[in-house]
């Protein structure tokens, strides 16, 4: 970590940055009763502090305007923010966070607001820092295989800028046409192609970050693999709890020589799942393997007329990419395996336009479900790939038992399920039933040794499920990391952890010191 303020080599300084506060503040934090409301300031105080530091129009206070920021892509949770700051310079972010830190007012960072776990859900007595106006592509270099971008730059724009140079940005969430790089970093976004190419964390080389005390620091260096702790690894996927990214240097990946997309129709998801396992078992690592079930196909068809095989109970979408010879070989294998698993129809797209047409159905699927159901929950869970068939069967049993329709769209290659639980919020009891089914699906994932989220993050939505997956000790240990960056608990509070604690607070469930403290492994700041 280096600080932009100009203390790159001062070890003491670095330590204090790591601990997230200057010694005086630390003392104060320890003195004050943790979490006492009286210790929090108000957004009005932050507003006052920002006068003169930010352009007038960058700070929103009009209630109608504030209300448009009340939710992200998960509209089930809504909180009108106390204040919205539209940052158009990294300094605006730093000034805002500093003011928040001074008054111990919570802040939440927001990019394009497309997240599906309520990670950017505002705080009523806090500040929403919006990075969508920070949208300059500073550098796109084929030679260096990197792009330096602002957090508000749209994911797809990075690839569009890199394509003429023969490169692209690999992480491709379904919302890539609108989601921001800052959001990708916060959520460690994946996408259909992360089976082969990895998640955002595998593609971030360096980050400029505003820490929760308002300091601007740089994590990582231009050269790969800086010594010391992997702070980028800690930051990516921290869901806005460790600070706000204000610039990212990301890896660009060479465009493959050849890409082929296979669309195979099957009678049911079982067969599609079996074909998936067989493809992976054959040693092929496809760029993507996706499955959609009948209900998801129906929705996508209604939305974008993607022309998927008629009468299919499931479609399997396999993309292979790489050198031409390798692609030709893998393609033949994939076709053979699909046929062996009784594919009812097989199509191979070679041209970019045909591939895009196949992907369009898949990428629109979530929002397209809006066409066949008034409301729906997008669930996100992971199971070991080999458990796919069993989990899908159990899921359809749950669906039948509870009388709640569930559409399935998933990254089959890495067992990342996206069940879409359909309901009508206008009908009494349906919302509760749908939420119940949604929770049962997560339990099912955990039972099978999986996870409650693959790529959408924990956010507001899944904090309550964390204890199903982790012990209290696990959660407390995670909070130690958070406290190292954010001793006052002002960075996106209420997300990830079911019972947020301020640093120095003794977790109630423990009689004595934290087990990690007792053994001398960790110290609570």
């Amino acid at each position: 970590m280096t600080t932009q303020a100009g203390h790159p080599s001062d070890p003491e300084r670095q330590a204090s940055v790591l601990r997230g506060a200057d010694p005086a503040a630390e003392v104060q934090a320890q003195r004050e009763p943790a979490g006492a409301p009286a210790s929090r300031g108000t957004v009005a105080q932050v507003r006052e502090d920002l006068r003169g530091l930010l352009p007038e129009e960058a700070v929103l206070t009009d209630p109608a305007r504030l209300a448009t920021y009340e939710c992200d892509g998960l509209a089930a949770y809504r909180v009108t923010p106390g204040l919205v700051v539209l940052a158009s310079r990294p300094e605006h972010v730093a000034a805002t966070v500093r003011a928040c830190a001074r008054h111990r007012v919570p802040f939440v960072a927001r990019g394009s607001g497309t997240g599906l776990s309520g990670g950017a859900l505002p705080h009523a007595d806090g500040v929403l820092v919006v990075t969508s106006q920070l949208r300059t592509l500073h550098e796109v270099s084929g030679e260096d295989q990197r792009a330096v971008v602002d957090p508000g730059v749209i994911n797809l724009q990075v690839s569009q800028a890199a394509t003429p140079l023969g490169y692209y940005f690999a992480p491709d969430p379904s919302s890539q046409q609108i989601c921001s790089i800052g959001g990708n970093v916060a959520e460690n976004s994946g996408g259909a192609h992360c089976l082969k190419y990895g998640f955002t964390t595998n593609h971030v080389l360096s980050l400029d970050v505003v820490t929760p005390d308002g300091e601007q620091v740089t994590l990582g260096t231009r050269a790969p693999d800086a010594p010391g702790y992997d702070l980028i690894g800690a930051f990516v996927g921290s869901e806005g709890t460790l600070g706000v990214a204000t610039r990212a240097t990301v890896r660009l990946v060479r465009l493959p020589e050849d890409v082929r997309t296979v669309l195979a129709g099957f009678d049911d998801t079982d067969q599609a799942g079996a074909a998936t396992s067989a493809i992976i078992a054959s040693g092929i690592v496809p760029a993507a393997i996706e499955i959609m079930d009948a209900l998801a196909i129906e929705a996508a068809e209604a939305a974008v007329q993607c022309g998927y095989p008629e009468g299919a109970g499931a479609v399997l979408l396999v993309e292979v990419d790489g050198p031409t010879d390798e692609v030709a070989h893998e393609l033949a294998e994939v076709e053979r395996i699909c046929r062996e698993h009784a594919a009812i129809e097989l199509r191979v797209a070679t041209e970019a336009a045909d591939r895009a047409a196949i992907w369009k159905g898949r990428k629109s699927a979530f929002a397209a479900v809006g066409r066949i159901s008034p409301d729906y929950i997008v669930q996100d869970g992971v199971v070991p790939r080999t458990a796919l068939g069993q989990v899908l069967r159990r899921m359809s049993e749950i669906s039948a038992e509870q009388g709640v329709r569930v559409a399935n769209v998933f990254h089959a290659g890495d067992g990342n399920l996206h069940p879409l639980v359909l309901f009508d919020g206008g009908t009494e009891g349906e919302t509760e039933r749908a939420e119940n089914v949604s929770g049962m699906i997560l339990d099912l994932c955990i039972e099978q040794g999986g996870s409650i989220t693959g790529e959408h993050g924990v956010g507001s939505d899944k904090a309550r499920y964390m204890p199903r997956m982790f012990t209290d000790e696990d959660l407390d240990t995670m909070q130690l990391v958070r406290c190292a960056f954010d001793p006052d608990g002002i960075a996106n509070p209420g997300k990830i952890y079911p019972t947020p604690r301020l640093c120095g607070e003794r977790p109630g469930r423990h009689q004595g010191a934290h087990p990690l403290q007792e053994t001398g492994v960790a110290e609570i700041f």
């Binding site: 109608a64 305007r65 497309t114 969508s132 106006q133 209604a302 629109s364 929002a367 729906y376």
Partner: protein, 454 residues
């Protein structure tokens, strides 16, 4: 022509602290509920592209409508965000959930116009626009002095002096948009089909199209006739009401719509053909505009079903007239390539879904080399009278469009809407990259007649 007069019981203006919307056609809660807040509309929204603010995105505006329905007052800021919408409908194209934002913004604008007290200068400007533009005869009166001023260079002197801009940026925008005027060219009331008659079509001659781009109408009639259409252009026809309807002047729009329906019903035609994207889109929407009018609801439905864009009808009938090169031929008789960029007018592409037809028709012209414009889905900033009411964002969008058009290296820009023509021409001129412009009909006309594009 006796206009069918009905009182639809439309309420008048109310106090500022009342809830934003009254019960007469408020933005529909059912349509609002279709929005799942996914944000896929954001990147294609011109104002979001400019400002990066949620409340100036379709998703944010729908949210504002919702708060309005829940009782929030029609505040100045709320109205400002509705007014800032260009109505380009790019969001309708990009929405995977099928949200009918077009209907929502139209319902909202009508409420705003009725219930919100605008400032005196704004009211005066709007009054001026709507006393002038929807009336071809009044526009014609303007032609003489305008043409004279252009011949004398007085218009450019006025622009250089920036006098008008100091007085009113809106008036300056209006003045600078006026195209170079050529000779008036009238379309005959009846143009017989050449060869076998395949359809009888009525032709909307429009207001701005008729007076400022008469060459486009003449070309349209000639191409239609060459493709086997009897073309009827009723002399008494008036404005289609597009500008009024798209600006929330509901009653005025309905009045124009009824008259147009009457005119073309009397003409006894199979189709009503329109060469202006905004007009065609509005006429296909009469079915919604007049749905509450017992005397016209059914007629509007039948009428809207017969409306076709120029390129749509030619593609539907299947072109038969032989095409010739429009850029001449070289010594070997090979057509000289004409590098052409096709600009999708929003009300053709987004509102009517017509993208493929004009491209196919243009590509079939010998020597034509079509280039796609980057960020084609983003509006040029014209948007009806938007560029007069909101000159600053319109200018910025025009500059972006001009840069993207210039990047194609095209020598000819083809589009199918008079507003886009004026807006993009002006922006390209400002950028020092003037380019020849033509309507799809003019290119086809030149090709059929074997002459160069005007």
């Amino acid at each position: 022509m006796a206009h069918h007069q009905v009182r639809l019981g439309i309420p008048g203006v109310r106090g500022a602290d009342q809830p934003a919307f009254d019960s007469h056609r408020p933005p529909s809660p059912e349509l609002i509920d279709d929005c799942v807040h996914c944000g896929f509309c954001l990147t294609t929204c011109p104002t979001y592209a400019l400002w990066g603010e949620e409340m100036d995105s379709p998703r944010g505006r729908i949210h504002l409508m919702k708060t309005g329905l829940e009782g929030a007052p029609l505040s100045e800021s709320m109205v400002g965000h509705f007014d800032a919408c260009l109505g380009c409908m790019a969001c309708v194209t990009s929405c995977p959930s099928g949200v009918q934002y077009d209907r929502l913004i139209e319902q909202t604008r009508a409420q705003v116009e009725r219930r919100y007290q605008r400032s005196a200068p704004d009211r005066a400007l709007r009054a001026a626009i709507f006393t002038l533009f929807p009336y071809p005869r009044r526009l014609r009166v303007l032609r003489g002095p305008l043409r004279l001023a252009q011949r004398l260079g007085a218009d450019r002197a006025l622009q250089r002096s920036r006098l008008l801009e100091k007085l009113s940026p809106q008036l300056a925008a209006m003045q600078s948009l006026a195209p170079r005027l050529g000779r008036p060219e009238r379309v005959a009331e009846h143009t017989p089909a050449v060869g076998e008659r395949r359809a009888v079509v009525g032709m909307l001659t429009g207001c701005v199209q008729r007076e400022f781009f008469p060459g486009v109408n003449a070309a349209t009639a000639r191409v239609l006739a060459a493709e086997g259409c009897d073309v009827v252009a009723p002399a008494g026809q008036g404005c289609c009401g597009a500008l009024s309807t798209h600006t929330g002047r509901e009653e005025e729009g309905q009045r124009f719509a009824r008259a147009v329906i009457d005119t073309f019903t009397d003409a006894g035609v199979d189709y009503v053909v329109v060469n202006s994207a905004g007009c065609g889109s509005a006429m296909k929407e009469y079915v919604h505009l007049l749905s509450d009018d017992p005397g016209y609801a059914e007629r509007a439905r039948a009428f809207s079903a017969r409306v076709r864009d120029f390129s749509e009808i030619i593609a539907e009938l299947g072109p038969v007239a032989p095409r010739h090169p429009v850029g001449g031929t070289d010594a070997q008789g090979v057509p000289v390539p004409v590098v052409t960029a096709y600009h999708d007018a929003c009300h053709l592409g987004h509102a009517q879904g017509i993208r493929q037809q004009p491209r196919a028709l243009l590509s079939a012209v010998p020597g034509m080399q079509l280039r796609e414009i980057p960020d084609a889905e983003i509006c040029c900033g014209s948007a009806g009278v938007y560029n007069i009411l909101n000159p600053e964002p319109a200018r910025e969008l025009g500059d972006r469009k001009a840069a993207n058009v210039a990047a194609t290296g095209a020598q000819l820009l083809v589009t199918a809407n008079p507003g886009c023509m004026m807006q993009v021409a002006q922006a390209l001129e400002r950028a020092g990259r003037p380019i020849r412009m033509a309507h799809t009909a003019q290119v086809l006309d030149a090709s059929i007649r074997g002459v160069r594009v005007p």
